[in-house]
Every structure is written in structure tokens, then in C-alpha cells.
């Protein structure tokens, strides 16, 4: 049974999951041609970072019962969530404006500033 | 101002419009020349002392006797008649105008008679004229969008004409 082998999850397990989310987000941002796809990539990246913050801020996961970041981890995660909401609002406004003027959200076609 | 005063004023206002007057029937009516119709209607609605602002109904009658035996006995010769029932909401007075048109324009089959549309005078005439065009086949010039209203768009023939033959089939549905 894999569960017994891994034992109780520790901080590094959370960091691995955070890393996977982070890299998926980066790839998504790089690869997607749809503006909303890029937005989703950003959300994934922010989530990966959030996971790390919470992992370091949690007393229950820390080896000696005292988390390195203490309460700052959770508060930082809260602020990231809040600001991600604001960022998504502005990003969507820009995307829909772009869609209004060019009838497409294809990022490659946004080349008006080309020389 | 009733009866003859009104008729004389109408003649003065639009010369050559009034062709016939029939006052001793149940519903007295005036016959109007086809080309003067729009001018008369505009006068009746805006300039006449009694404003005929309500258009109640536009009807078309196909005066044509299909079987030859009876055709010989009738005293009128085949024509299409378009009847306008007007009404003044303020004076509570009604008026009937009739216009005589040939059954087919220039007497060649298939080309429907023409008449000027009164939609510019009464907005309500829009659907009435579309129904007359659809069922009796009268072309109204100047109508904003003259299409069939009751029958399907691609129906051929004008059902209310006396010599109308029900089509054998329509889009695969057997008529008879």
C-alpha cells in the first residue's frame, strides 16, 4: 500500500505538489495561444506559490511543531488570493476589450505594436 | 358638415379623385381613382376638417364569375376592388372608399395589379396590405416590406381569387 510507505505527509511533500503546480502554470502560460489560457496559467502559478506559503506556515507539518514562517505563511497566502482576484478582474477586462476590438482572443494575433 | 358638403369639399381638395358616389345603399361609399388614392387619403387624414385618423380595415374583392353560364348574366365585368374603411375617432364618423383595379395588370395572366400603399398615412395599413397582397394579389407600391403574412413565404397563387386552384402538393405534402 503506497500510503503506508510514504507515511505522514511532511513539508517537502507539499513543496513537491507546489512545484508541480508551478511548472504546469509556467508551461501553460508559455504554450497557450488563447489569452484566457495564459490567465489560467497565471492562476496555477499563484496557487503553487500559495501552497508553499501554507506548507511553511503550518505548525502541524513542521518537524519540531513550530513552523518556520509562523502565522506569516497563512496571511501571505490570504493576500495572494485577494490580489489574484483583483488581477483576474483587470486581466479579463483587458482581454474582453481586446476581443471587442479584434473579435479574437488569439494572443499571436495581438501584434498591433509590430514595427 | 355631412353628406354633400363633405363630398364637395373632397372634390375641391383633390380634383379628379372622386369617380362615383353611391349614397342610397346600407353603407354609402365613394369610388376613388386608383392614382389619386394616396393623395386623397393624406388629405382625409391630415387636412380635412374631420380627421380620419383610424384605418379600420382594407379588403380586396375579386369580381370574377368562373363558370361561363353565370358569367353571361352578371352586369359587371371582371375586376378587382380594394375597399378602405376609415373612421374618425373624434367625430365618430365612418367613411368607405373603393378603388377598382383590373384583375391582372395589362390583362396578361400572372402580373398582379398595382396600387400605391397608404402605410405612410396610417401605420396600421402595413399588415392589412400584406394580407391583401398575400390572399388577393394586389401589389402595393411604397410598402416597407411587402411579403406574405398568412401563407408560407414560398406559396404560389392567391387563395381568395375566384379562379384559384388548390396546389396538388406543397413540399411533399399532398394537397388533393
Amino acid at each position: 500500500m503506497i500510503i503506508a510507505l510514504l507515511g505522514v505527509a511532511s513539508v517537502s511533500h507539499y513543496l513537491v505538489v507546489g512545484a508541480i503546480l508551478f511548472s504546469c502554470g509556467v508551461v501553460c502560460m508559455a504554450v497557450k495561444r488563447n489569452a484566457l489560457g495564459v490567465l489560467m496559467g497565471i492562476e496555477l502559478v499563484l496557487n503553487g506559490a500559495n501552497l508553499n506559503f501554507v506548507a511553511f506556515g503550518s505548525n502541524y507539518l513542521a518537524a519540531d511543531g513550530k513552523s518556520p514562517l509562523g502565522l506569516d505563511g497563512e496571511v501571505m497566502a490570504l493576500f495572494v488570493i485577494l490580489l489574484a482576484a483583483a488581477e483576474a478582474a483587470v486581466a479579463l477586462a483587458i482581454t474582453l476589450n481586446f476581443y471587442n476590438n479584434h473579435a479574437t482572443v488569439d494572443v499571436d494575433r495581438a501584434d498591433d505594436l509590430h514595427g | 358638415m355631412r353628406g354633400t358638403d363633405f363630398i364637395s369639399e373632397l372634390e375641391a381638395a383633390v380634383d379628379g379623385a372622386l369617380i362615383g358616389r353611391h349614397l342610397d345603399v346600407v353603407d354609402p361609399w365613394l369610388e376613388i381613382a386608383a392614382d389619386k388614392l394616396l393623395e386623397t387619403c393624406r388629405w382625409l387624414k391630415d387636412l380635412c376638417e374631420i380627421r380620419f385618423d383610424g384605418l379600420q380595415c382594407i379588403t380586396a374583392i375579386d369580381w370574377f364569375e368562373p363558370d361561363p353560364k353565370k358569367a353571361a348574366k352578371v352586369e359587371w365585368e371582371p375586376h378587382t376592388e380594394v375597399i378602405y374603411h376609415l373612421w374618425s375617432t373624434k367625430a365618430r364618423a365612418s367613411l368607405v372608399l373603393k378603388v377598382k383595379l383590373p384583375r391582372w395588370q395589362g390583362n396578361e395572366e400572372g402580373k398582379i395589379p398595382e396600387l400605391s400603399s397608404v402605410v405612410s398615412v396610417w401605420r396600421g395599413a402595413d399588415w392589412h396590405e400584406r394580407e391583401v397582397f398575400d390572399l388577393s394579389g394586389v401589389q402595393f407600391n411604397g410598402h416597407p416590406d411587402l411579403r406574405r403574412i398568412l401563407c408560407p413565404e414560398d406559396w404560389d397563387g392567391y387563395p381568395l381569387r375566384k379562379d384559384y386552384e388548390m396546389p396538388l402538393e406543397y413540399h411533399g405534402m399532398r394537397g388533393r
Partner: protein, 402 residues
């Protein structure tokens, strides 16, 4: 008027340009009354243009009318406005009687007023119930139909049918009232009086109903007359026309001596012969609310007329009189008569050539013109307003398509 324009959120700016959609509402849509198809061009929620398509219920009654005698065509008039068949029969019968210059007996006249006004109540009840359905509340529909069933029972005793009666024919009525019918009719009217106040509480003064109907689909008096709208739609815009008082002499003769007020807002207030709920603050004359309110007033008005006609009917002595022969010979000529039906002024145009079969028969329907104005009213409204506006015009497809 400027006060209405600026605070009204109707001047809605389109936010993001979603692509314009062409959307079909009907012909099998649950809210439109019967088989009416509305093609809406919408941008998001805003309807930029609406076009009604009719003709789904066209049975060419007029072509058939050219092969039947006048009395044989009565059942076809029933099926035009099937919610108020008695009014249709009366309209056609009066038109033929006007051509024949035939006067029915005094008793028949009062009986006709009684039956026609009872049918008007039934028709307005359906209009009220269906309008509640359009705005999303289900219960008033059932209350309305509970009362309408009682009226249909009364009609069933009179002529055996519940929807298409063919009771009023050319020259009189097919049968006289059964014994005890008048008492049952009065009993119905007495128990119906308080129920009307219930409908007012349930719909007319309901805050959400007012929010959904006030200032929606405003029809100006000029546009109403110009489009040929008639009946409650016209009176809802403040135009004081009711054919029972202003119609042709043969029709107004039936209502001679009846005291009744036309249900229209004259110099700022509705008739005060009964206590009615007050007009809400933000309802403009000519909007959906006023059209609905005029119909509710007409129900009360018809109840007064029925009571008066019951007294007059029971007092006059003479016989009811027989209707004319089935194949009555019609003199050559043509005649046109309009009568005040629940939906509006229904006109019948009859052209004869001397035989007993008319040469041309034409029925001018009130809902036909009332519906013609709906594209004008629905421009710029929200999708949820379209059924509210079309519902307030109270159109019946049988009458429009004939």
C-alpha cells in the same frame, strides 16, 4: 416627461459587445398565447428588434365563407376568438341583420347583452390568468379558471357547448334560457364580487407585478390610433372609445338605457363607480399595467351590465322570436359592422350578390392590429419584457390567423 427618461434604466448602454443573436421565441413557446412565433434579434439581454410571424393557425375561414349561407358560417366565427365565441357570433349576426335591416325582438336584445357580457368576463379572466403565467406566477391562472368554469357551466345549460357555442345566430338566438338559469347566474355574480378584490390583491397591487409591468411597453395614444389598436389596448392608452357607446346605431341600440361607464382614465382618474385600487406611482398611461387594469375594470363593468340585463330580460313580455331561415336570401349590396369584443373591435364585412350565399366575407380582427404594434413596443426592452408586453396585448391566434 424628461423625468421619466433620465432615471429610467431603460437607456441601457451595451457593455461588452457579445455577438448579436437571432433567437426564436415560439411557435411552441409556453408563454406566447398559442402558435405565435417571435423572432428576436438580441444583444446579450437587450432585444434590439422583434418580428412576429403569424399564419400558423390560418384555416382560410373567409374562403369557406364564400360557399356557405350566412347562418352556416356562424360556427366559423366561433373559432376565430375561441375565448369569446359569443361576441363573435353577435358581431356576424348583427352585420347580416344590418344588411337585411332586420330588427330582433326586445327580449332577444336584452338576452344578447346578458350572454355577451358574461362571455366578456370569461375572456378577461383567461387574459388575467395567462398574464400571471407570463410573469412567472402560477396561482392566479388557476383562480381565474376556477371562476371561468362556473361561467362555462352556465353557458353549457344555455346552448350545450362550453367553448364554441354558435348560440347567437342571424335573427335571434337558437334557444331560450332554461328555467332557473337567471337565479344561478345571479348567484354566480354575487359570489364573484369579492373574488375580484382577491385578484387585485394578488396581481394588480402586487409590488413585483407592478415592477414588471409599470413603464414597460408604453403605447402612446397617437401610435395606438395610427396602428388601429382597439379595445383595452386603446383604452389603456387613455383614448376614450368604446363601441358599446360610440358604435353603429344597430349595435348601440342594444345598450340603450344601460347605465355604464367606459373603463378609461379620463382627466387623471379611472371611473369611480366602484372602489378600485389606486394607480401605482410609477405607472405611465399606456404601459402594460394600465392595459391590464382596464381589463379588470371591464370585468366589474360587465357584471353591472349583466345585472341590469337580467332585470330587463325578466320584465319584457314578448316572445323571444325565431331566428331567420337557414338559407335566407340576402339582398345584393355590402355592409361593414364593428362590435366591441373583449380583445377589441371585431369587424365583419359582408358583400352579397342577391343569392343566399355571400360573394365575399371579411373578418377584421382586433388582435391582428394589436399585435402589429408589438414590434414597436418591444424595441430596446429586455428579453423578460417581451412576454410581458405581448401578454398585455392579450392576443388570440385564432382571431389573427382566421
Amino acid at each position: 416627461m424628461s423625468q421619466i427618461l433620465d432615471d429610467d434604466q431603460r437607456i441601457i448602454e451595451f457593455d461588452v459587445r457579445t455577438d448579436e443573436m437571432l433567437v426564436n421565441m415560439g411557435p411552441q413557446h409556453p408563454s406566447t398565447h398559442g402558435v405565435l412565433r417571435l423572432v428576436l434579434r438580441t444583444d446579450g439581454e437587450i432585444v434590439s428588434e422583434m418580428e412576429p410571424h403569424i399564419g400558423y393557425l390560418h384555416r382560410c375561414a373567409e374562403k369557406i365563407g364564400e360557399n356557405l349561407t350566412a347562418r352556416q358560417w356562424i360556427p366559423y366565427t366561433d373559432r376565430m376568438d375561441y375565448l369569446a365565441a359569443m361576441n363573435m357570433n353577435l358581431g356576424w349576426s348583427l352585420a347580416v341583420e344590418k344588411l337585411l335591416r332586420y330588427q330582433v325582438s326586445e327580449k332577444a336584445k336584452h338576452l344578447r347583452v346578458l350572454i355577451v357580457e358574461l362571455n366578456r368576463i370569461a375572456s378577461h379572466l383567461v387574459g388575467m390568468g395567462a398574464y400571471g403565467l407570463d410573469l412567472g406566477t402560477f396561482s392566479p391562472f388557476l383562480y381565474a379558471f376556477r371562476e371561468r368554469e362556473k361561467i362555462l357551466d352556465l353557458f353549457e345549460e344555455v346552448c350545450g357547448a362550453r367553448l364554441t357555442y354558435s348560440y347567437i345566430t342571424v335573427g335571434g338566438m337558437t334557444a331560450d334560457l332554461p328555467p332557473g338559469w337567471l337565479q344561478r347566474c345571479e348567484a354566480f355574480l354575487d359570489q364573484f364580487e369579492p373574488i375580484i378584490q382577491e385578484y387585485h390583491a394578488l396581481l394588480t397591487t402586487n409590488a413585483i407585478f407592478v415592477k414588471r409591468t409599470a413603464k414597460i411597453g408604453v403605447l402612446s395614444p397617437e401610435m395606438a390610433i395610427d396602428y388601429g389598436c382597439t379595445g383595452p389596448v386603446l383604452r389603456g392608452s387613455g383614448v376614450d372609445i368604446d363601441l358599446r357607446r360610440d358604435g353603429e346605431s344597430i349595435y348601440t341600440a342594444m345598450y340603450d338605457g344601460y347605465a355604464f361607464e367606459v373603463a378609461v382614465m379620463k382627466n387623471g382618474h379611472y371611473p369611480r363607480d366602484h372602489e378600485y385600487p389606486a394607480v401605482p406611482r410609477d405607472a405611465i398611461l399606456g404601459d402594460c399595467w394600465h392595459r391590464f387594469f382596464v381589463r379588470m375594470l371591464e370585468v366589474v363593468q360587465s357584471m353591472d351590465l349583466i345585472r341590469q340585463s337580467i332585470d330587463r330580460y325578466s320584465q319584457c313580455k314578448g316572445a323571444l322570436g325565431e331566428p331567420l331561415k337557414l338559407a335566407e336570401k340576402l339582398p345584393a349590396g355590402d355592409t361593414y359592422l364593428e362590435t366591441e369584443c373583449p380583445k377589441g373591435q371585431m369587424g365583419f364585412y359582408l358583400v352579397t350578390d342577391g343569392t343566399s350565399i355571400p360573394w365575399r366575407v371579411r373578418a377584421r380582427s382586433s388582435s391582428f392590429s394589436n399585435l402589429a404594434v408589438s414590434p414597436e413596443l418591444c424595441r430596446g426592452c429586455l428579453i423578460a419584457d417581451v412576454p410581458a408586453i405581448v401578454g398585455s396585448l392579450d392576443v388570440v391566434m385564432g382571431e389573427i390567423d382566421r
